[in-house]
Symmetry: C2
Subunit: 204 residues, 2 copies
């Protein structure tokens, strides 16, 4: 269910401010979710639509923000500021959803000292002190695979409780830490699988 | 099930070539999947382990490659060569898994003509002719959100059947096209939700 809430929020944003209310059918159509599922999910948040009118958009948006914790201003650090790390550090969604980017770290002398989006890249040696000082809660890993586990271990030790991993590596974290992974390689392999099956059908 | 196959493949790679065989318990431990599930998934591929010995690593790897269509050399185009697009175009996994990057496209005159990983960035006007000439099957979208749907429509019309979308937009494709999405914003929101719940529990 939680995975659908960001989708509803994005759908509301895409629909814009044209109407003060939205039906579950319309929201479902944009989000690609059945209307009955939309109603079920939103009732879980305590949002009930009015028959023939729908949901109040502003109220719904506010409930989604609250449920997703987007009003908390979580501190985020990004580790590994190559092309991917730079793209993530510059990602407008971070600010849009109320995250605070409080630290960018790398070990490459050619990168340390440069600025991305107004924030200076610091050496990895400084990571723990920044995490503690800024009370960062979220770590984004964009390092090479070989460095990722070590970086995660240090982040967790410094107090980070949520990790978003872009490195192509399977990482271990303690049970109390949430780890999510963006796995480009898996996504490509799944696409490849579908293509191969479609080609098999076409040939058969 | 399909979503776990890339995980098995990566786990085999992480374990390296030390042993010619691997048990379902060991493979499951590295992949983070129960051993019973590993055995079920692999039997579906026609791979059966030998009791007390396990699976032959090379044979298993070959079966996973075949099932995932990684032996086909699919042509890939990347559209939008900012930091993210550059990171994707340089991504070693693409070559490692046998994908051929056959086109990089942008509309920014400051980017068009530059090379990434030996391949020259072309203007978006050239996209259709490259897709057709190279028989590209996969399109990776790293454009701004506002441009994404238009680019996808053009890719589909040119014959691309699989889309991996990194743009923060909900896209529509015909039924015969596979669309997958890497949604950094959703991932961050899900982490935020977990943090908020944990904070609620700590306070309660």
């Amino acid at each position: 269910m939680i995975a659908r809430l960001p989708l509803y929020l994005r759908s509301l944003d895409e629909l814009g401010q044209r109407n003060p209310t939205i039906s579950s059918v319309r929201l479902g159509a944009v989000a690609g979710v059945a209307a009955t599922q939309v109603r079920k999910d939103l009732s879980y948040l305590g949002s009930y639509g009015v028959r023939g009118v729908g949901y109040r958009v502003e109220e719904l948006r506010e409930r989604l923000h609250r449920e997703l914790g987007l009003t908390r201003g979580w501190g985020v650090v990004v580790v590994g500021i190559g092309n991917l790390g730079t793209a993530l550090a510059e990602y407008s969604g971070l600010r849009l959803w109320g995250f605070r980017v409080v630290g960018l770290f790398d070990v490459d002398p050619a990168r340390v000292g440069n600025k991305v989006n107004g924030l200076r890249i610091k050496h990895l040696d400084r990571m723990e002190s920044v995490v503690e000082h800024e009370q960062a809660e979220i770590g984004i890993i964009a390092t090479p695979a070989a460095a990722a586990q070590l970086v995660v271990d240090r982040l967790v030790k410094a107090g980070v409780r949520s990790i978003l991993n872009f490195a192509p590596a399977v990482l271990q974290v303690p049970r109390a830490v949430t780890l999510r992974r963006v796995d480009v390689s898996s996504e490509l392999q799944i696409l490849s699988h579908h293509l191969a099956r479609a080609a098999g059908r076409a040939a058969g």
